[in-house]
Symmetry: C2
Subunit: 418 residues, 2 copies
Amino acid sequence: MLSVEIVTIGTELLLGDLVDTNASAIARSLSDYGIDVYAIHSVGDNLARLAAMLRGALDRAQGVMTSGGLGPTVDDLTKDAVSNVIGKPLVLHEPSLAAIERRLQAFGIREIGENNRRQALLPEGAVVLENPNGTAPGFVAIRGDGKFIACMPGVPREMHPMLSERLLPWLAKRFELGAAIFRRTLHLTGTAESELDRAIEDLFRMQENPKIAVLAHDGRVDVRMTAKARSRSEADALFAPLEAELRRRIGTAVFGVDGETLEAAIVARARDLRLWLATAESVTGGGIADAIVRVPGASECFRGGIVAYDNAVKRDVLGVDRRALEQDGAVSERVALEMARGTRERLDADVALATTGIAGPSGGSDSKPVGLVWFGLSHGDELATRSATFPGTREDVRRRAVSFGLSWLWRRLHRAER
Amino acid sequence: MLSVEIVTIGTELLLGDLVDTNASAIARSLSDYGIDVYAIHSVGDNLARLAAMLRGALDRAQGVMTSGGLGPTVDDLTKDAVSNVIGKPLVLHEPSLAAIERRLQAFGIREIGENNRRQALLPEGAVVLENPNGTAPGFVAIRGDGKFIACMPGVPREMHPMLSERLLPWLAKRFELGAAIFRRTLHLTGTAESELDRAIEDLFRMQENPKIAVLAHDGRVDVRMTAKARSRSEADALFAPLEAELRRRIGTAVFGVDGETLEAAIVARARDLRLWLATAESVTGGGIADAIVRVPGASECFRGGIVAYDNAVKRDVLGVDRRALEQDGAVSERVALEMARGTRERLDADVALATTGIAGPSGGSDSKPVGLVWFGLSHGDELATRSATFPGTREDVRRRAVSFGLSWLWRRLHRAER
């Protein structure tokens, strides 16, 4: 099994000015390929310490992967350290120089400076990793004993594509890595994690490749399949029968796959059904409308909403009965229902969702604690309500109420006849 | 100058399942105290490798700070490694055992298991760092030569208070660290970074302690003062005259300090002025209303809003003239104005803000490109408009439009007479 250490380079990491997301991204990709990561290190822009770190890492592991320190300034010392550790001089790599010149010219810079020219110096004999997103090329320098140091830029949007499109394929070929880990995730809502566990317990125990994991979030549960395979298409072939069985058992709760959102599922379903949606929000303050508008194409199924924060708006704009507000209070089943009906009629929609609740920190009572939220739904002649009491801060309550509302709306549309 | 290395412990870090936020938080705190961080390392739950890492770090630096690996399971090996490296046996620390028992009892657990009992084993003679937020105590173990290893739990909400309230004060005392870095940040809006630079350029160059830095964000610019001082009150005394001078020059743009938000400044100002606010949102889809409702106490100045996404809602609910929609289009100065006036009247508010724009990815044209947003403001008899074209994706455009809208609303209220 190939073993590597990861070294991220930059004094800003040691000052805590920056959270190191490159290290975990590289580690994740390596573990997907079954490569054993022995350790992760961050060092500053200090030649002696960086060289010592690289030397130590090559003693322990077969390779080192670095990010950072390839920029044009005198602080960027990664190549000097690598040259030193590998025992190869830095030489000018003409194709990289030409690429840098082309890139700078595209930005209107005619004369390439000494600093940018330095970016085309690479350890003699290194494998070059082109950088379509920046000036600094990456590279893999190989020592006499076959151990290697692979260097990538520190800017994440340059590092990520270089890692997945250049470096990993090179490693896979060189070390005949074969199988990697692929993932496919089903997103579910309206089902408890425990319920789900029971429904798929046997699959859970039975599986070797692919494996299943269940992960709970606010208003959502993920069933993640991971497979070891030599390609995405081989992995997809492994996922297909398992996914079919999962969908047979729990499919009614699946709203999307691989990062699809509840709001996107709502918009897709409403467009399919040719239904117009509307919202009436008090406690969620526009958060549900905002989530729906986030989806491109929302304009084809979303009329809009009323943020009825003040009771006067509930009464005057949505037509909520003054007596309902006085007798039952603004946070009540009756008001949630009347808000939903009011906004559906007022905005000429087919389906309307309403929220009214107490986000806190003040405003709670024994009978109506902070966190209590009533939801109302009006769909044609049908009316329905739900209530829940959410724990946490004002922001937690509001975020959970948005998730619950979206989940309920999706389930409602999901069951609706075409 | 005291030098340390940081070691974060846990196999999940090497698998990339977790971004290491502890390392940067510890590094930031240490650099605030002028402590030199030589390197940061992450290692897995492997006794031999962990011990080798700690030994190497103590060769290079005067101390090591760790997080993770103090839990009750057999995977938690930090104390075994430290005991080995420092050369002190693990012994039962009775007060920690009692604290663990009390904590478990509070959760209804009567019998303390062998696993939790192990959490009270500490290297002989270690300085104990109590953990009010979990079962695992932290500690500082000191080697014969005076070098130390300080260990904290990996759970951030246990680690953070232990670091700032126990470990840093202990280090400051033991190593007579004296001065640390303190910060105070003024948040500004409605001013360009370049303009600001000119206004305070001389202060910028003049300052040694405190120093000034200018940092630009969406719809906001921060002026951050940092001072070296022995206490918060000493730092505040250093900040006061500089802040007075800054406010004399750029004070009209300052909406808050140290993390205060634009929406909080809007709510505070509107409550002060006893003004009722309302919104009419198309492109921002409820995002501005949602930001205002985020602020506790918003109910005393925010009536609510209309999310007028569909033109029918602009017309029927807000009373926007059908001809304005037909002649000028939904994204136009006239419609923004009519939306603002409509929502102000409809919701019986004093000040209303409206947005209408093209978030993309589709819907743009030569004269009205993707990113174009019109804003309207209605305040009593006054009407005003602004437009801007924001770059980026659908989400970028919408987020920038929310920031711009909040900024403009605050500036308007800020200038309003009491």
